[in-house]
Amino acid sequence: MNLSFFDQFSSPSLLGIPLILLSLLFPALLFPSPGNRWVNSRLSTIQLWLLHLITKQLMIPLNKNGHKWALMLTSLMVMLLTINLLGLLPYTFTPTTQLSMNMALAFPLWLATLLTGLRNKPSASLAHLLPEGTPTPLIPALILIETTSLLIRPLALGVRLTANLTAGHLLIQLISTASVALAPILPAVSILTMAILLLLTILEVAVAMIQAYVFVLLLSLYLQENI
């Protein structure tokens, strides 16, 4: 069968076994649990430093109640970061290109922040639907707009991550195909295309890290409003 450029994103399965499970389980192998020692291995020390940095950065704007979310947000950040970066290796599958996975993460977590706010401080969390200093005649329209923007948040969270990663992988595949196709015809142009591919890959590494960060940051922002 002839493959199109989108077929790299179909969830792989072998004899009915979904192989996405391998891509999901592998990141956990890259974070070996540090032993019960004062000084651990270099890998564990570096990972500990990184986790401490991530947790600190996420917890600074949150109040004491928000610190209950530390494990959830940090583990989400670690998982997304690792999955995104591993997907840039050749012949790997990136689960975060799947809308199903990103919506499964975005929707319940956003809903959790919303319900936390509505349960613990309902007036304050509903008050976010009307920005301060709105002229009176604009109030009904603005409440509708703010409600829409609130309800679209989980969709935006999920689709943002999916689209960024899908577009990146697609671009990489397109430009590498162009480079390979041009090699016998116009070798100089092919080498230029490979240079562009190198720059694009560096960009994709940045995008992978930034998109994971943005996902978790936005969730923490939604949490700040509601906790």
């Binding site: 649990s33 959830m72 689960p95 199903s100 996975m101």
Partner: protein, 55 residues
Amino acid sequence: MPQLNPAPWFSIMVMTWLTLALLIQPKLLNFTTTNPPSDKPPLATKPTPWAWPWT
């Protein structure tokens, strides 16, 4: 777009949450940070007196 094929959606959603909750979170809990090193306090702490006899 193959991501919109609804067939694997449920299994992917379940597998994602199971990995996040059962694999990654317990692993990260084992990463405990130590307190940053600090100088010794300048004064020795006073021993607190106690009411019951020595014996």
